[in-house]
């Protein structure tokens, strides 16, 4: 082939540039990261899931308290919390979560007649396509082989970018450790075969945790029998905390 040096450099440059751009696009797509990180369903590796049944939650706040004790969560921060929704006859929605629901919910006066009232426990959604992992500049936030989104507090720089990127308000900067903090589904317990603290203490069985690869898991029964939904599905984060009876008012 007849090719002079200038042409060669030109073509080599274009190839390198094109390849670089192609690889970068792949890097930036959280979808690709997802496929490579999680083991496929149906294998022996556990893939964890979490289901919140909003019909069952009684708003006692024991889950919030248990989480705080188990994970040493500072007073002003919440790895999990419970929201109370009061919908009046005129369609107005009144939401509150005093102290994250940690001390239960005192009666609340709202204008109008209350048509509907319910509680919604919230926690990290451990998204399959997590924004927080995508934006962490140092790779301190990552997805475990079981699909749990974790923070390496020895490596986190505390820039708060993940806090901004989480659409669910599930993250905070731990005022003691000065690093990002969030629900881990009690990973330290789960790895020992225990359930997360909030699941353990819930008197109403409103919180369920299990292995999606285990056919006997209570989660599998719920997914086959109930109609479940996730929070903000339009954002495309594919949360893996699912909700039974999720009302349209809940964000």
């Amino acid at each position: 082939m007849d090719i002079d040096r200038r042409q060669f450099l030109k073509q080599a440059g274009c190839t390198l540039l094109g390849g670089g751009v192609f690889i970068s696009i792949g890097q930036f797509s959280p979808g690709i990261a997802k496929a490579s990180q999680l083991p496929p369903l149906g294998t022996s590796t556990p893939v964890y899931g979490f289901v919140v049944n909003t019909f069952k939650c009684i708003g006692c706040g024991k889950c919030v308290e248990a989480c705080k004790i188990e994970n040493h969560v500072p007073v002003s921060c919440f790895r999990t919390w419970v929201e109370r929704y009061l919908v009046t006859a005129d369609g107005a929605v009144h939401v509150d979560s005093p102290d994250g629901g940690c001390n239960g919910f005192p009666p609340r006066d709202v204008p109008g007649i209350i048509k509907k009232a319910y509680f919604v426990p919230k926690l990290c959604n451990h998204c399959a396509r997590p924004n927080c992992v995508q934006v962490c500049p140092v790779g301190a936030t990552y997805v475990s082989p079981e699909g749990v989104v974790l923070v390496d507090e020895q490596h986190c720089v505390g820039c708060s970018y993940c806090v901004q990127a989480c659409p669910y308000g599930a993250r905070f900067i731990n005022p003691v450790k000065k690093t990002a903090d969030k629900c881990t589904w009690c990973y330290h317990r789960v790895k020992r075969g225990l359930t997360p603290a909030c699941v353990l203490v819930c008197p109403a069985k409103a919180r369920l945790f299990g292995n999606l690869n285990d056919p006997d898991s209570p989660l599998i029964k719920i997914f086959t029998k109930e109609r479940v939904n996730v929070l903000k599905p339009d954002l495309g984060n594919e949360p893996r905390t699912s909700y039974v009876g999720l009302a349209e008012e809940v964000r």
Partner: protein
Amino acid sequence: MHEVITQGFLFPNEIEVHWSLMIVLYPYITGLVAGAFIVSSLYHVFGKHELKPVARFALIAAFCFLIFACTPLLFHLGHPERAFNIMFTPKFTSAMSGFGYIYTFYMIIVMLELWFMFRPYFVRMAQKGAGPRHHIVKEGNHDARFRPDILQTVRPVPAWKRALYSVLSLGVYDVSEASLHMDHKIITVLAAIGVPSACVLHGYVGFLFGSLKSNPWWSTPLMPIIFLLSAIVSGVAMLIVMYAFEMWRKGRPLDGACIQSMASYLWGFLIIDVVLELLELLCMAYEGEESWMTLANLISDKLLVSYVLVQFIICSTIPFVLLGLVSLTKLKDKTRNSFSIISAVLLLIQVFSMRWNVVIGGQLFSKSLRGFTSYNPEFYGREGVLVCILLFCMPFVCIYILNQFLPFWEEE
């Protein structure tokens, strides 16, 4: 710490504003870098000779602002001692991970350009003779024998200073015509690489915000462009103010063509910047998505003063009119200069309030879209007002120090 006042419902972790005044200051300083560099490049790359009086100073200013561009981030980080993790273990899915590299690359470009620009001066100063103070005859006067007043005192360059200039010259003493010509070419190339780098440096800051789908106030593809244009506006405005101040200090007149040119650029960039921001707002309002009701409340209540009044009504409208007059009509020198300087000062406030409205504004409402929090920066704290003022003063201190060693203006 001021008490946080909340309205409606916020997720419990949202009550505290995580990105504070430091994150307002960071894009502000970065913007000044990008803007000042682009003015310098308008002369070096695009041949806008009317900007020659400020071209060299613009680069110095860009350099000094660049040195301190990342200091607000260090004050903000929970673990500043781990700051270099961003370069050692970058995660390239994060826009932020590019910061260290973009910043370093840009710093190298600016430093190289500065070095080539001042190289002949370093050589001259390094080779200037030592010895006692002596007199030479001022240029153009030959009859000096009986006229001591036309003698100029020449102070010898102290040895330490000559050593400093020798070091700065990096041992390259070739100042032949051919070598200076080559320097000039290199400066042009560096400035040409610097223009896209400056755009990347600041466009990237806009991307940090614009790419977060979790926040409807930030999430728009226009964000990098708006950040870039406001950066240029702030950079040009800062140069006008600093140029006017320096000339006033030295008792020299302002270069009419230069001020006129900078004012015209400022007017042009201001128009595009404000139009884009208004278009973005219009699109959000017209589309009327679920988040719009919350954003409308944000604008009409929480950001009424800083966004509507300061950013648009006062600090955009007045400069638009004044700079329009400067650009389109023939004004007296003094009027033109006054209009330009007043506009520049107002635009510096406008861009700062824009940064505030984006960074703080985006954190004042809940992602549940049901409530608002408040933010009043503390005064003495690590991320407080005092630190912010001190950090913002540092580039000027740096410029002052550099001025002791380098001539900023052509006449020097």
